[in-house]
């Protein structure tokens, strides 16, 4: 198709400042594909997912058009995690390096966790000594899971994390569920304790940690080794079952491309109670419980 032949009818009107950003004429979201001209109006700035070619703003991805004032970007619906400062993420240590750890956070590069941005046992504001550097592997070793916050970005786009809060740190007593990062929305809190006695950390990178609920006391910071030990608490069979059920609930939601938050997990969990955990992910049962959870969510939001 010739790029210059774009009928006015198939393009939403971006000329009007008051126009709703991604609504097109037929009321649907404006979907573009790579190489498609988004607009020829030079008043717009190009955002992510677009490039300019002879005055035309062209999409480089398949996705929906987002407009913020004069900035037009194309948001793909399935992509790797793109971090923002302040995001809560769950990651896995892939490498221990000089004064830093490399953390897999499902982004386009491994994130960096500097030794200076973790809390070490024995006082929050303590200087990092050479001996700390030598025993970095005793804090985080390869394969360890952790929760952290995105603190900054390096020039090349790699994220720098920090765990300087009691909320963040090494993860134990649970299991990891990986979902597409687009399904986890930014909310006030990404740490939830479900009524069934299970802690859930909804990492914005699509890594979700489901663990047995363990109360954290502020004193833990001062206990040496309490922060970084590798021993799980005793977990009973019933607790294991509950954790497995929560994990399967999350997987069920992600199979149906449903967004994931604590309420939605609880609704799916409750809807699944009639089925044994091992049957939850059979396609028909999976669909049934997700539909039930969606119905309940809609009902709750109407009240």
């Amino acid at each position: 198709m010739d790029a210059s032949v774009v009928s006015a009818a198939q393009m939403p009107d971006y000329g009007d400042d008051m126009a709703v950003d991604n609504e097109s004429d037929d009321g649907n979201t404006h979907i573009v594909t790579p190489g498609e001209v988004v607009t020829r109006d030079t008043a717009f700035m190009r955002g992510h997912g677009t490039y300019t070619e002879d005055d035309a703003l062209v999409a480089s991805m398949a996705g929906v058009v987002d407009r913020v004032n004069k900035l037009i970007s194309v948001r793909p619906l399935r992509t790797r995690y793109n971090g923002e400062i302040g995001d809560v993420v769950v990651g896995r240590i892939t490498e221990v390096g000089p004064r830093r750890w490399k953390v897999d956070i499902n982004a386009r590069q491994d994130a960096v966790l500097l030794l200076s941005s973790v809390n070490l046992p024995g006082g929050v504001q303590r200087r990092k000594t050479e001996s700390d550097e030598l025993q970095m592997r005793s804090f985080f070793g390869e394969g360890d899971m952790l929760s952290a916050e995105v603190q900054a970005f390096f020039q090349d786009g790699a994220a720098s994390l920090h765990t300087r809060s009691i909320k963040y740190g090494k993860l134990r007593n649970g299991s990891l569920v990986i979902v597409p990062s687009a399904l986890v929305k930014r909310t006030k809190s990404h740490f939830a304790t479900l009524p069934c006695g299970v802690d859930v950390i909804l990492g914005l990178n699509g890594y979700i940690w489901v663990a047995k609920h363990v109360a954290i006391s502020p004193e833990i910071v001062n206990q040496p080794d309490a922060l970084y030990h590798n021993e799980n608490e005793p977990i009973s069979d019933a607790e294991r079952q509950t954790i497995a059920r929560v994990c399967s609930s999350i997987v069920a939601l992600s199979r149906h491309n449903n967004f994931i938050n604590d309420t939605m997990i609880v609704y799916t969990f409750e809807a699944s109670m009639g089925h044994p955990v091992k049957d939850m992910l059979k396609p028909d049962i999976c669909q049934q419980i997700v539909l039930a959870a969606r119905a309940q969510f809609r009902e709750a939001s109407l009240q």
């Binding site: 790579p34 190489g35 070619e53 398949a62 619906l77 790797r80 590069q109 786009g157 491309n257």
Partner: protein, 244 residues
Amino acid sequence: MSRLEIISPEGLRVDGRRPLELRRVNSRTAVLSQADGSAYIEQGNTKCLAAVYGPREPTKRAALLHDRALINVEYSVASFSSGERKQKLRRDRRLMEIASTIKRTFENVILTTTFPRSEIDIYLQVLQIDGGALHTAINAATLALVDAGIPMTDYVCACSAGYVNNQAILDLNYLEESAEIPTLTVALLPKSGKITMLGLESRLHLDKLEPVIQLASDGCKQLKENIDATIRESTKSLAKTILQ
């Protein structure tokens, strides 16, 4: 030597197509749950599965590029893909050459500079061969890359064409390819018409080159409509569930 009749007096080919007709195309995206992007395409009886991982941390530190993403293509052909079962060689030269051709095809189209120090892996598996495995694999890779949300200036569409009985024919199948017909494979960017890959492995008279390229390019543009429809369909259904 008994020659197979490629075009019958009625103007039909061995599989009943007209000379300028493409085979039936059937494609889907997001067929694998683990990959960042995946696609499956059937062009006639040639079937290919593509999986794209990335952009992600490079597996080999030495290969890392500081200013752009590294593209890695692995192309393999299933041992059950053709009439005779083939024992797979560990490092087949021929397959590696095809993989590097596909890699070069996409290097110019993917906006690699947006992902410095990363790696994009494209895994292509041809499940059944009935001619045109290379262009089917390129189309599958395009679909999978778009599905993975990797920025590209345009689609890459590929198609083959040959020349026989004073006539150019489009999208050759296995019987036609093995009948010593010169076969040309073209990969192009349908919007600008720029050609990113052109492959010809046998002799073709220079005068005939132009019409054959033209025909293959027309085939690519037809395929683009098909690929675009698949992408639009899958994006629309994703938008419906995710943006509810």
